[in-house]
């Protein structure tokens, strides 16, 4: 009997050692590849240690429970001549196995409550960022800083469909990361434009749903500069797997430089509406904008995914000479009750003009319509 117990404990400890030394996979965060990442904030490290504490408590419970169970299975076999005992019900034992778990649970609940209170304390934040979930991208708006932009998946389609070798940050890389200064308490205000999304960066231990009509709040404070990656965690439709998050923590000085460059770029973008654009220019710009913002639903060749996402190539308003007005309106103002968002308030006049021009001339649509950014700007201003 002693030998069985010894063998069991030996086997259990071998399993644990194997688990804790498994070869490390390449990792997008501070995770070892098979465990929760300790992360890079005080809160994330607290969550990690809470996780490890409850994990080991559960492992200990499992070892004891399965130990008694396997001991019984080995020792009290009929084939070994075991005769059944006749005992049943024992108030003392039953009180013990009700009370002991209760005590263990209270011991777990105490630190969990303390950590949760800290996670909920969004007071005294120095920077507010409004995060909006879209199908299927994130938009960051730095309140009080006059900076806002979309953050799209940067992994090329060719990598997803096996035409190219996959990069190191396959599916967890974006075109424009969210940049934050180190050592600053950042408050996130989360909402969504269409369906529910969930903003999750494991290294920050932040996961909060972005819900249309609601504004949720949470916070983090990163001390170490670095790039911390995450993904949308709530099923949000077709490209749920393809809306990653990249948070780039930089020194406060670098952050100021970044803010300045963002503002400059935004001004240049606005100024783009002041001049006349050629068809080639619009088509080139439009192709880029289309592939980033439109292709997920309407497909790269404009064939759409009917009936949810209509085709643009060869049919409908994008080839109808009289459909130009409706075409502009649907791109600018969206279509309620469908997945088509209003891009008028989020893309620049140049981008909007380019993408409409592109849709009216690509894939053999060849309407010859050329929409100038200034016309779009006028349309938006008249609203």
């Amino acid at each position: 009997m002693g030998r069985i117990l010894y063998a069991y404990l030996y086997a259990a400890s071998i399993c644990l050692i194997v688990l804790s030394t498994t070869a490390q996979a390449s990792s997008i965060n501070t995770s070892s590849g098979f465990n929760m990442p300790p992360g890079v904030t005080e809160i994330s490290r607290e969550v990690y240690s809470l996780h490890m504490t409850i994990l080991w408590i559960c492992v200990a419970i499992a070892v004891v429970v399965f130990g008694v169970m396997f001991y019984s299975l080995i020792v009290y076999r009929k084939s070994k001549g075991a005769k059944p005992a006749h005992f049943h019900e024992n108030t003392t034992v039953e009180i013990i196995w009700t009370a002991v778990p209760l005590v263990i649970l209270v011991l777990m609940a105490v630190p969990a409550t303390a950590t949760l209170k800290k996670m909920y304390d969004t007071s005294d934040a120095e920077l507010d960022v409004l995060v909006t979930g879209y199908q299927w991208r994130w938009r960051y708006e730095y309140l009080e800083e006059d900076v806002s932009f979309f953050s799209n998946l940067a992994t090329p389609r060719e990598q997803i469909y096996e035409a190219e070798e996959k990069g190191d940050f396959y599916l967890v890389e974006v075109d424009e990361p969210m940049v934050v200064p180190t050592g600053v308490k950042v408050r996130l205000l989360l909402t969504a434009n269409d369906v529910i999304h969930s903003w999750w960066v494991p290294d920050l231990a932040v996961k909060k749903d972005a819900i249309p009509g609601f504004i949720n709040e949470t916070w983090f404070k990163v001390d170490e500069p670095g790039i911390y990656r995450g993904q949308c965690a709530e099923l949000c439709g077709r490209d749920h797997a393809f809306m990653p998050i990249e948070v780039k923590a930089v020194s406060p000085d670098e952050y100021q430089l970044w803010l300045a460059s963002r503002r400059e770029a935004a001004e240049a973008e606005v100024a783009g509406a002041d001049r006349e654009w050629s068809l080639d220019e619009l088509m080139e710009r439009g192709a880029g904008t289309y592939n980033t913002y439109c292709a997920a639903c309407h497909q790269p060749q404009g064939q759409g995914l009917p009936p949810m996402f209509p085709a643009l190539a060869g049919v409908g308003m994008s080839v109808d000479p009289d459909g130009l007005r409706a075409h502009k309106e649907i791109v600018l103002y969206g279509k309620t009750g469908t997945a088509m968002p209003a891009f008028g308030s989020t893309l620049s006049a140049a981008e909007l003009a380019a993408v409409i021009t592109y849709e009216r001339n690509a894939w053999g649509n060849d309407t010859g319509d050329l929409i100038q950014p200034s016309a779009i700007r006028a349309m938006l201003e008249s609203q």
Binding site: L50, V65, S72, F87, A233, H240, F242, P306
Partner: protein, 548 residues
């Protein structure tokens, strides 16, 4: 005394009906029509079980589509929109089409035989309850062939993804949920009516087998929560077709309300899928340990406690939606409390094994597999209750691992155990021990290979319901996929075992297992079409599982 008399009266009237039914059946339709109109609890039980087996394979093959796509990073076999339909349909079919009907099938077969009743209390309703299901799932499966495809918003169908942004087939999905829900409610009413009215004279509630007890409690849960599900899908239907805005923020509605309603149904629902499993294991463990269940009464109370607690824990599925701190704390504490009665159950089974005289026939193997792997799922459930840690676990593969541990080697293994346990009673033949053991061990290996690595991929940061993933998750996904295919194809052995036992095999006596107790073992094997036309004699002093 008065109540005994009324019970006896009810009995005689029901036996008359049953006798009339029998006379009718002998002149009645034959062939397929006979199955369409049968009111016999054993035949309806078989229909339920066959239906759920078919659904298990349909839902399972969808799981294999998922695992094939996730075998490697990159998109290889299906498009994301079809992948989403597979995850949604897999969940819906397994929950509403496989697990729940299997338990109802077992209830139909065994509850009347365990309480000494000639049939279910409402035999025609019983027939109707069953035949709603093929209609419901015919509609559900047909959506896959409609324009825009079938439901693609996850089995939890969160609004507004399932309303404003849903495919046109969603109204059909709502219809099928309604039908399946009506089927469940009617089945539950029938089970309660049967248990409360048709017990053989002398059998008190505290003399019933634990399978009957757990089903009685489950039936009350069903009646309490299925109407909530019906309400929530009706609100969806209104939002989609009639211009209301229950869940549409743009119209003043509330998408979070959907989640509160869904999980007020959904959490009791997960216990609906596990309580009858507890009952089954509580019969099988004492049988093969040849020792009384350690604590009959505490098992009953623990089941009732779990059922009651299931109504006050729903928001633990919603810790990240932005509930106020006090709500988070309340739902964390109440959820943790569930570990106590659940622990009582596990400890009871182990105390029953302790100093028993144990043999390892196939039903026992599945029951023991249940105890071990259900406990693993239970422990990860405790981890998920801890809100700060749940922020990291929520909506990842860690959750997928957790609920598959309680549903596959949990609920499904208990169903398998029950089938191996009662197959001699149903067919008159023992299932093949050799094939059964192959089935068990391949299932155990397959299930752990599939779901254990999901704990790791989830902790490392892999969200659930994605058709493609970052490279760091590749190794664990490959293992999960290999395990999934092993587990899936192993279930073909089960089909073979059942077919073999129906056709022939070692003959089983009335009491098929040495340590078995209960009225079902007093009737011949195979059980004749009509049993207990007159209520059997019952003496709690000697026959009750709670006797002292």
């Amino acid at each position: 005394m008065a109540s005994e008399t009324s019970q006896a009266t009810l009995h005689s009237s029901v036996s008359d009906v049953a006798a009339g039914g029998a006379a009718h059946a002998s002149h009645g339709p034959t062939g397929l029509l006979r199955w369409l109109v049968t009111t016999n609890h054993k035949e309806i039980g078989s229909l339920y079980l066959i239906f759920s087996l078919v659904m298990l394979f349909i839902g399972g093959s969808m799981a294999l589509v998922i695992r094939a796509e996730l075998f490697q990073p990159g998109m290889q076999y299906v498009q994301p929109e079809f992948f989403n339909q597979m995850t949604t349909m897999h969940g819906l079919i397994m929950v509403f089409g496989a697990i729940m009907p299997a338990f109802v099938g077992l209830a139909n077969w065994m509850i009347p035989m365990q309480i000494g009743a000639p049939d279910m209390a409402l035999p025609r309703l019983n027939n109707f309850s069953f035949w709603l299901l093929p209609v419901a799932f015919g509609i559900l499966l047909s959506t896959l062939f409609m324009e825009g495809g079938g439901p693609n918003f996850g089995w939890t169908f969160y609004a507004p993804l399932s309303t404003t942004f849903a495919p046109p087939s969603t109204s059909f999905f709502i219809m099928s949920i309604h039908l399946a829900g009506i089927s469940s409610i009617l089945g539950a009413i029938n089970i309660i009516a049967t248990i409360l009215n048709l017990r053989t004279p002398g059998m008190r509630l505290m003399d019933m087998s634990l399978f009957v007890w757990t089903w009685l409690i489950t039936a009350f849960l069903l009646i309490a929560v299925m109407p909530v599900l019906a309400g929530v899908v009706t609100m969806m239907l209104m939002d989609i077709n009639f211009g209301t805005s229950f869940f549409d923020a743009a119209g003043g509605g509330d998408p979070v309300l959907f989640q509160h309603l869904f999980w007020f149904f959904g959490h009791p629902e997960v216990y609906i899928m596990i309580l009858p499993a507890f009952g089954i294991v509580s019969l099988i463990v004492p049988t093969f340990a040849r020792k009384r269940l350690f604590g009959y009464a505490s098992m009953v109370y623990a089941t009732a406690s779990i059922a009651l607690l299931s109504f006050v824990v729903w928001a633990h599925h919603m810790f990240t939606v932005g509930l106020p701190l006090t709500a988070e704390l309340f739902f964390m504490y109440s959820t943790m409390l569930i570990a106590v009665p659940t622990g009582v159950k596990v400890f009871n089974w182990i105390a029953t094994l302790f100093r028993g005289s144990i043999t390892f026939e196939v039903p026992m193997l599945f029951a023991l597999g249940f105890i071990v792997m259900f406990t693993i799922g239970g422990l990860s459930g405790v981890m998920l209750a801890i809100v700060p840690a749940d922020f990291q676990y929520h909506d990842t593969y860690f959750v997928v691992a957790h609920f598959h541990y309680v549903l596959v080697p949990g609920a499904l293994f208990a169903i398998m155990a029950a089938v191996y346990f009662w197959l001699p009673k149903w067919t008159g033949h023992y299932a093949s021990e050799t094939l059964g053991k192959w089935h068990f061990w391949l299932s155990v290996i397959g299930v752990n290979l599939t779901f254990f690595p999901m704990h790791f991929s989830g902790l490392a940061g892999m969200p659930r319901r994605i058709p493609d993933y970052a490279l760091q998750f590749a190794d664990f996904n490959m293992i999960s996929s290999i395990g999934g295919f092993l587990f899936g194809f192993s279930q073909l052995i089960f089909v073979w075992v059942v077919i073999k036992a129906v056709r022939g095999g070692r003959k089983a006596p009335a009491k098929a297992w040495e340590g078995a107790e209960g009225l079902e073992w007093t009737v011949p094997s195979p059980a004749p079409l009509h049993t207990f036309d007159t209520p059997p004699a019952y003496d709690p002093q000697t026959d009750s599982p709670s006797r002292h």
